[in-house]
């Protein structure tokens, strides 16, 4: 048993030493609070492949949300029913069909500050764009973006600080968000559109979802699917801001953008861990974990496997893709993975078309918010020359 907790790690400025501490504690070990941590690719994969032993539903039982978080908090066999509906709604083909609209949106976000000579990647793109894509996908008004961003921020800040009862501000934000979502569920039942929400609501008979299930799905996307992309956009731009040669290479050869994004996702997973609870005693990598035990799959540590990667802690666009675990795996792998990857590529492409040269504001040291369930930069101010400007 190790005495430390993940929250003890100092990873604000650099995640590498922290994930090494976790990795060095063993493939499977128990933390100071009794939680078991899986840190190797083999251990994490085993847990992903055996949802009957490592239950996601049990891990979400204590999340304190009044609706079922569909589909992450559902185990098989019910899980299959949801994924059959949701997979096609978020497939690469659907994302391809949306690409022009999504590209135009990020182009506009960048254009809003391109002539000012400065921006904050976190507040000006990373926080706005994922929510914009969400409202586009679910057929909600774009004008509601900023309100949603604020509600989600309040709810996520609370979940970060853990077990204490939510304060009135959080309850108020959560209730307002539920009312807002319910309003659109009711409206789209009456007047369906060509969007994900309408498609789910149109299911009939045995396939039909209850109101709670629909609310749960939207809740999950809002609290788990937005700030993770916010985090990934920030990390992507951070590595480019710090490495001029790398970004010039990507601008010269856009074909390198996807492998670069895979590398950023590998070494900076915005959701560094995911939780399960064992349903039975299990032996994993020679360690016996009892039944009913809380388990944390440390995707961040597993992604830095020195046996798989020549340079496990560095971005290497020439490195062959070796199946990182940032999106999890098995039946609960991230539903939004295809969309997230596309958002990241479009941000990189459109940002550099308008602003090819930039640097981090002098004297600023980027830090992630920590402790936190998801990792994202607090701020990433950039400065850049303006075309025709004096600077």
């Amino acid at each position: 048993m190790e005495t430390f907790l993940l929250t003890d790690l100092s990873i604000e400025k650099d995640r590498t030493p922290g994930w090494h501490v976790v990795k060095d504690a063993g493939e499977v070990f128990q933390m100071g609070d009794g939680t078991w941590v899986l840190t190797s690719t083999d251990a994490v994969r085993f847990a992903c492949r055996h949802p009957e032993i490592f239950s996601s539903a049990e891990a979400f039982r204590t999340a304190g949300v009044p609706v079922p978080l569909v589909p992450v908090a559902i185990d098989p066999p019910d899980h299959t029913k949801y994924r059959r509906v949701l997979d096609p709604l978020l497939s690469p083909r659907v994302v391809n069909a949306m690409e022009d609209r999504l590209r135009a949106q990020v182009r506009d976000l960048v254009a809003a500050f391109a002539s000012t000579g400065r921006c904050d990647v976190v507040t000006d793109i990373a926080k706005l764009y994922p929510t914009q894509v969400f409202v586009t996908l679910f057929g909600l008004p774009l004008a509601d973006r900023d309100q949603l961003v604020r509600w989600v921020e309040i709810c996520n800040e609370h979940s970060t600080h853990g077990t204490a009862d939510p304060n009135p501000t959080v309850v108020e934000a959560a209730m307002a968000m539920f009312r807002y979502v319910q309003h659109f569920i009711d409206e789209k039942r009456q007047n369906p559109g060509d969007d994900v929400l309408s498609t789910v609501l149109a299911l009939k008979g045995d396939e039909a979802w209850s109101n709670e299930e629909v609310l749960g799905l939207i809740w999950l996307v809002l609290v788990a699917g937005l700030d993770t992309v916010t985090g990934a956009i920030g990390f992507t731009m951070l590595y480019l801001a710090r490495n001029r040669d790398l970004r010039r290479k990507l601008v010269a050869d856009p074909g390198l953008i996807p492998p670069f994004i895979e590398e950023v996702l590998r070494i900076e997973p915005p959701a560094p861990t995911t939780s399960r609870v064992t349903t039975q005693e299990v032996e994993l990598c020679g360690v016996r974990i009892p039944a009913g035990a809380p388990v944390m799959l440390c995707l961040a540590a597993a992604n830095r496997d020195p046996e798989k990667f020549e340079h496990p802690d560095d971005i290497d666009t020439a490195q062959k893709e070796r199946g990182h675990l940032t999106f999890g795996g098995g039946i609960h792998r991230c539903l939004g993975a295809h969309l997230a990857r596309r958002e990241l590529r479009l941000v990189v492409e459109e940002f550099h078309k308008q602003i090819p040269e930039y640097e981090i504001a002098p004297g600023f040291e980027p830090e992630v918010v920590w402790p936190s369930a998801t990792l994202h930069l607090r701020s990433l101010p950039l400065v850049f020359p303006v075309p025709g400007g004096a600077s």
Binding site: R93, G323, F327, A337
Partner: protein
Amino acid sequence: MKRLVIDYQLCSGNGRCFVVAPELFTDDDRGYGHVIGDGSIGDDHLELARRAVIACPEQAIAITDDQGPPGSEDGPS
């Protein structure tokens, strides 16, 4: 002749195979990968096939000799 097979007990629609090796894999409406044709690969595509094998986060892709194991083409559940 070498042949690519996807184990749909393991495949969960990560979709990396048809991104890494579009010459050898295609996608369906749900975003699951499928081998093109009967999955047989010529020597010129062997390296690409190996890249797809290691890129799969589920380790669901294998390169087999001749016919491949029975039942491997059932498709995603």
